[in-house]
Structure formats: C-alpha cells, structure tokens
Symmetry: C2
Subunit: 385 residues, 2 copies
C-alpha cells in the first residue's frame, strides 16, 4: 500500500425528504446564491422545495450552468456574487452544476485572473466561499470531493482543478429527486461512476486489499443495478444505491494508497471539448480500447477484475482478459451508452484535432506509469472508430 492522506469533511444527508433540513445547515443571516442548470430542477419541484427551506434568507437565483460548465457562464455568476455580497453558495443539480459552483466559490474571492485557477489546477486557491449541494443526478461524485472540471468555450479547453477549500460543507442526497431525469443522463451517470472506479482500480497491484475490495464492490453494485436504474425511474431502492455508489466512487476513499490512471478521462475531455460528446459517452468509447492497448501493463489487475467482478474463470489468462474487456463494453451498451466513435457520427477526421489539443494542454504522459503518449492515444482513437 502506498502512503496516503484521506480527508473529507463533507456531511452527507441522505434520504427522501431531507431537503427540508436545509435551513439547519446554512446560517440564518446568510446571503445565498442558488446555482442550477436548466429546467429540470424547476420541473421536478426541487427548486421550490429549496426556496421554501431557505425561508427568509436573501436568495439570488443563478440559472443556466451548462453540462460541462463554461468559464464564460461561471464568470457571470462570480460578478453577481461579488456585487450582491453573497456569502453562501448552494448548488442544485448534478456534477456540472456542482463543479461550476466550486469554481465560483473560489473565483469570487480570488485576486487576479480567475482563469489561472484552472491553469494551475487549483493550487493557487487561498480561500473560497462556503457551499452546499442538493444533488439531483448521481454520476460525478463532485458532491463529496474537492475537485471540478471547467471548460473555456473560447478555446475549447477543459481543465480540472482541486482544492480542499472547495469541499461542500454538506450535500443532500434525496434519491426521489432523480425520478424525473432523462434515461440518457441516468445511463451516463452509471458509466461515469463505473469509469471513476476503474481509473482508480484497474492499474497494478500494490497490496491494497481493502481498496480493491471496495472498488470491486462498487463495480458489482453498478453491474447489479445499472440497467434497472435506467429503466425504472421511480424505483427508490435502485436509485438510492446508484446515488450512494456514485458518491463513493470518487470521494477519495478507494483511490487512497493506490496508483491511479485517469488517461481515459483526460483523453475523453478533449473529445467532449472538441465535439460536444457527453462526458460519459467519451469514457464508454475510450475505456475498453485503453484497457485493450495496455493489457500487458495492467495484466494482473485485469485478471483480478475478470475473476472478482465478472466471475470469469474459464480460459487462459489472455482469454479471460478479453472476456472481461468485452463484458465491460457490453455493460455500457446495455445501459444505453454506445461505445464507438461511429455511433456518434465521428470518423477518422476527429483524431488529429483531438491529439493536437491533448498536446496543446501538455497531456504527453498519461496513466499510472506516466507512459501513455499521444501516439498511444492516437492508437486508442483508431481502435475506437
């Protein structure tokens, strides 16, 4: 096991009807900005519940945070926060809204060019406004971690940042708030959570027995409930398990003390920034081929994955690895996320632009061994056609 630090002060408030407790967690004299995306938080009644729970507090509503939240939109929120002396941010939505709110929390108190927060990955954040979240879309884990990803539309640049100062103080997880989600978003959430686990699990063994068991437990749970989660909108138990699984998939726990990969995510970010694919679509396209290309480096863990997660015991090593990768792809397809670039009307012409951006962003050595080069990413994209 490698050395690690684990720190996560976010309070999770989980269960049906918990939004009513919001007022207990925000100061009575707080000046609150509620940040959200589009119509879904309005349609499903969540926004009204939130407003009612906030009572007499000064509340500023900020709508329009996009999927893959943009620096441009978030900068408008920053201006309003500063002008209106907002001192608490409440994100109501999924990972994009929460990521965006984290950026606003840091940027509002930042002196200088706020884009530098993203250029420096958050290391230059010195303070941030306190924030909480009401989660409506299980997927990214942003509700219980210290990171976010923001896209600058002008330059098609999608960059991550991290800081312990942007942990939400609390996150309310009410599974019934997911009932009105479009099936596509639920399917994306399942794939996103699955690949989050894989990025932290499918590397090489370091004798981290519990981290492996926990990661395998999350994958097994996603496999067990994935299709049902997409098909049965109002199945409380299934949605509750999806919600908690997605949170635990990226809250710092299973990644503590183990090597991490993230090459699939970083290559996928470029596909989203260039061609607007959903984040999870890019992961479903890239992961199976990334595993295939790097099967030698990942040999031991692929075999463990095959056996423990997919119960594959027949055949020789290579056959079992092939079967496990095939099962992974089949699972993504089964929940409804297609796994080929051609499924999204993209062909060979997309490869060089994506690689150029990858290189422009300095992503020259990816993966747990820092040995995934742009050349290998090109191969992965060719395999993904």
């Amino acid at each position: 096991m490698q050395k690690f630090n684990v720190y996560n002060p976010t309070q999770i408030i989980f269960g049906e009807g918990r939004i009513a407790e919001l007022a207990e967690h925000i100061a009575a004299d707080a000046r609150v900005m509620v940040l959200y995306g589009g119509g879904s938080a309005e349609r499903n009644g969540t926004l009204v519940e939130v407003k009612n729970a906030l009572g007499a507090r000064h509340v500023q509503m900020f709508a329009g945070i996009e999927p893959n939240p943009s620096y441009e939109t978030l900068s408008k929120a920053v201006d309003i926060v500063r002008a209106d002396k907002i001192d608490f941010l409440l994100a109501v939505g999924g990972g994009s809204v929460i990521d965006g709110t984290k950026f606003v929390a840091a940027a509002a108190l930042f002196e200088g060019d706020t884009w530098s927060i993203l250029q420096q990955g958050g290391t230059n954040i010195k303070q941030a406004l306190p924030m909480g979240t009401v989660l409506t879309l299980p997927a990214t884990g942003s509700e219980m971690n210290n990171g976010g990803v923001v896209t600058r539309l002008a330059t098609k640049t999608k960059l991550p940042f991290h800081s312990n100062l942007v942990f939400p103080q609390f996150s309310i997880l009410d599974p019934t708030k997911t009932y009105t989600l479009p099936a596509r978003q639920v399917a994306n959430g399942v794939v996103d959570a699955y690949v989050h686990v894989m990025e932290q699990y499918l590397t090489y063994p370091v004798n981290a027995l519990v981290q492996d068991r926990f990661a395998e437990g999350l994958l097994q749970t996603l496999i067990e409930i994935g299709e049902q989660a997409v098909q049965e909108a109002d199945n409380y138990n299934v949605r509750a398990n999806l919600m908690w699984t997605a949170t635990l998939a990226l809250n710092g726990l299973i990644g503590a003390g183990v090597p991490q990969d993230w090459s699939t995510h970083l290559l996928g970010h470029e596909l989203t920034a260039q061609y607007g694919l959903d984040h999870a679509q890019t992961l479903a396209i890239i992961l199976p081929n990334m595993l295939q290309l790097r099967r030698k480096e990942k040999h031991a863990k692929l075999l463990q994955y095959a056996q423990r997660v997919w119960n594959i015991t027949d055949g020789n090593d290579e056959q079992r690895i092939d079967a496990a990768i095939a099962k992974t792809r089949e699972f993504f397809e089964a929940v409804g996320v297609r796994t080929r670039l051609s499924d999204y009307q993209l062909g060979e012409e997309c490869i060089e632009p994506v690689l150029a951006q990858l290189q422009a962003h300095g992503m020259l050595q990816l993966g747990e061994h820092q040995d995934v080069t742009p050349e290998q990413c090109r191969t992965v994209l060719h395999m993904s056609l």
Copy 2:
C-alpha cells in the same frame, strides 16, 4: 436503504515515517498534553519520535491510561489539563488511549460532574479540546470516529459516549509502529475489527448494496490477513492492511443507512467490567452464540454472509448457516483468541452477576430489533460456557 447522515472530518495520515509531519498539524504555540498507556510506546521509540516532532512546544506527558480506560485515571488528566492550561491533546496508543483522550477533551471543558458525560452518552458535550492521535494498535477504529468507552472502576460500570466534538482532527497511522505489539494485542485487534463489522452487517437486509459489499470486503480482508498479522510482526503490507481495515470497520461508513446490532458488544462490556477479560475476548466468546440464538431473525443475512464471505454453497439453508457460524468461531481461534468462558476460567457463577449489571445499566432491549432481553443474554452466556 435507511436515511442516514455521514460526517467524518478526521484527516488520516497513513504510511511509514509520517510521525515526522506531526508539527504541520498542531499550532506552533500549542500547549500539548501527550497521553499514552504504558511502556510499549516508550519501548518502540514512538514517544521519542513524537517528542522530537513537537519541537519547542510546551509538552505535558501523561502516562498510565489503562486498557479499558478508567474514569478515575482520566479524571487526573483532566485536572492537569485544567491546571496547566493545555489546549491540544495528542493520544499515542491504541483504542483505550484514544477513547480516554476523547473523554479528557470533553471533560476538561465540561461544567459540572464529568461522570454525567457518560451517563448521558455524550449528548451533553458542548465543547471539547482539539485532539489528534498517533495510532499504535489497529483495532477499535477510535482514531477515526466520534465515540469512546470509559469504565468507572469504583462501580464496575463501562459506558460508551459519542459526540461530533471529539472526532480527532488527525490520526497518524504508521504500520511500522505496530511491529513491537504483543501477539495477543494484534489478535485482539483482528477480532475487534471483525466484530465491529459484524455488528453493522449481520442484521437484516435493507437493500443497502454498497454497505454490504464494503462490509464483506472488510471481513474477507481480515480473514485473508488475520493469522499472518499475528504471526509476522514486521510484515509491512499485512500490518498496513490490518491498520486500514480496522479503521474503516468503525468510522461510520459501513454502518450508514443500515440497522445495527451491538448486542455482542454491550453484553461483552459487562464481562470485561466484572471479570477483566480483554474486550476482544468477550466478543469472540459471545458473537458465535449470539448469532446462533438469533439465527431466525438474522436468517437472510447469515445466508448472504455464508456465501459471500465464506464461500459456503453446499447444504441446505440451516447447514450453511451452521457452517458460517462455525467458520467464524474457527477464525477467532485461529488468530489466537479463545471462544469459551471456560477458556478464561469462568463458569456458571459468572452469569448472574453479569446479568445483574446489564440490567442495572438499563440494557434491557438490545439488538437491531431491540428484542434481545436479559433472558436471551442469559441463554447466550449459558451457551458460551
């Protein structure tokens, strides 16, 4: 899944050599009390490392916190903390030292009779001194939770307390600090962690898929490494996995959203308070019989436990349950903790005194259904002879 809150602000600093970082986590002008047990922290060099790391800070050493820390001893520490204006407590040791330090942290700032903290289970704690820990014995999980247990010697009363105000700010987990532990303490730690998981897992199903998988992962890991942990004092990987497993067994994670039992612990506390058995010894004696007695109420979970943890698939339901309970007992014996009262020179004469104390402490309805009566506890004790 049941509603739940999860909150755990303790920072874990894990790995060899991390004690040197102590100074980064305690204010430079802090007045520190270092609380520890007996000779082992001195013998293994941990205390010297701690003192060196604390540098020029005012340091007050407080030795002599017993296994099953006593109210009497801790009250002496409280007096010194108050007299010497100590403002940070550092526990160096295992669960007893950490539990005791939590009590001192709350009692030092408590107005009125400090025994009432235990009588009211910590609900009357309004403030507490900040504290950190350097863990030397993996077992109780106290290094990353908000609870403790204290014994009043005068009345042989062992009572638990909880408060979010006594979470350690940080805990340093250096697996090499366990190398000099007596085998008996390591074995006790394995059993303690195992039974912590069982108290939160082996109840009845509530569709908490991830909590079940995580609990099973912890049990599987303990089974995988338990005997090695006792036999191989300086096996870093094994000790590291034991340390992290024991912490995760009782940090609020696997118990969130599920029913909990704790009848084995509460009955065991009385055995320790009356007859001085090690805490883990009482658990190893009671758990198998508690499962046996309540096999009907626990039927579904016992079958799941048999299959997923012990890989028992042969036989009918009752045979598989019998086999799983037998395996549990065998595991405790294999790591070196005996599982019969007679192994500790206790016979029938011990039963009524223990029951009298249980009733005196108001423990009349234990377990996940609150239906374990003193009469059933009597039966369990008879089965344990």
